[in-house]
Symmetry: C2
Subunit: 137 residues, 2 copies
DNA sequence: TCTTAAAGGAGAATTATTCTCTAAAAGCAG
DNA sequence: CTGCTTTTAGAGAATAATTCTCCTTTAAGA
């Protein structure tokens, strides 16, 4: 992805632009499928060898806070990061640990309609996330 | 829950019956809403003060392996345990961290039918879990 | 009762993530 | 462009949930 675009994503959120932030954000886009912090650190160090681990975590948290990326939790206890901050579902393969984003407006509409009709008492729904577990083949 | 019933759950899975396993399983049933390992340790120590932390974790993992309970992952990185090993969905309140099981056969049927029609290529669905985020009130 | 494999105890080890404290640098005003 | 202020980065220690190790104890079938 172009540097200017990445820069604009940061400035667009009122975040200071630093090389570290640029490289981390670029890494997440380049490592297409939901990298771990470790993946991001390794990738980033190819182009910026001295970046500190703590810095990467700080940058990642800042990006999540500002909705530039998302945090994804998997079965084992390692966070994964999702380049896409939009609402979406996940296809998840427990064996290979592969994650793929899954968008589907029709599904969202269906669920919304369904829960509107059901009207769960004592609970106000804010968001519905569907995790589709299975196997990639 | 009656001791005999708990004992039968263990023997039914071919697991050895030990006081530690009995007390841990009882704790999960008593602490009704998705306790953490720490909750379980505290509760268990009221009746069995010397149980080791490592033992509780070992018992919990054994129970999960044998489908007597389920592991649930939340936003922060603490595991929660679910007394109910059946397939079900969750209502989750991020603020209070409260979790409530949500069963709905109609929803399951709806989703099954929907994904059968959609037929995602390159992926074989095994299970669909819906996480309903929002607020209890 | 004896035997053996499985389970428990205690505490060290692991490991992802956060924290702390100081030095550096981004971004704005002049 | 220069200096000022606040945010950010670096380095490594700290944290905390969970697992591991090693040895002892116990469950349960013969």
């Amino acid at each position: 992805m172009d540097n200017e675009i990445i820069k604009n994503k940061l400035t667009g959120k009122g975040l200071k632009v630093t090389p570290q932030r640029m490289f981390v954000l670029e890494a997440i886009y380049a490592l297409d499928n939901h990298p771990t912090a470790e993946n991001i650190i390794d990738y980033t160090r190819n182009v910026y060898p001295h970046i500190a681990i703590g810095t990467v975590y700080k940058v990642l948290n800042k990006l999540v806070e500002n909705d530039l990326i998302k945090k994804v939790k998997t079965e084992n206890d390692v966070m994964r990061y999702d380049a896409n901050p939009e609402r979406h579902h996940h296809l998840y393969d427990k064996e290979s640990e592969a994650i793929q984003d899954y968008y589907d407006e029709e599904l969202d509409a269906l669920l919304k309609k369904y829960f509107k009709r059901k009207n769960i008492t004592g609970f106000t729904i804010e968001e519905i996330v569907v995790q589709i577990n299975g196997k990639f083949n």
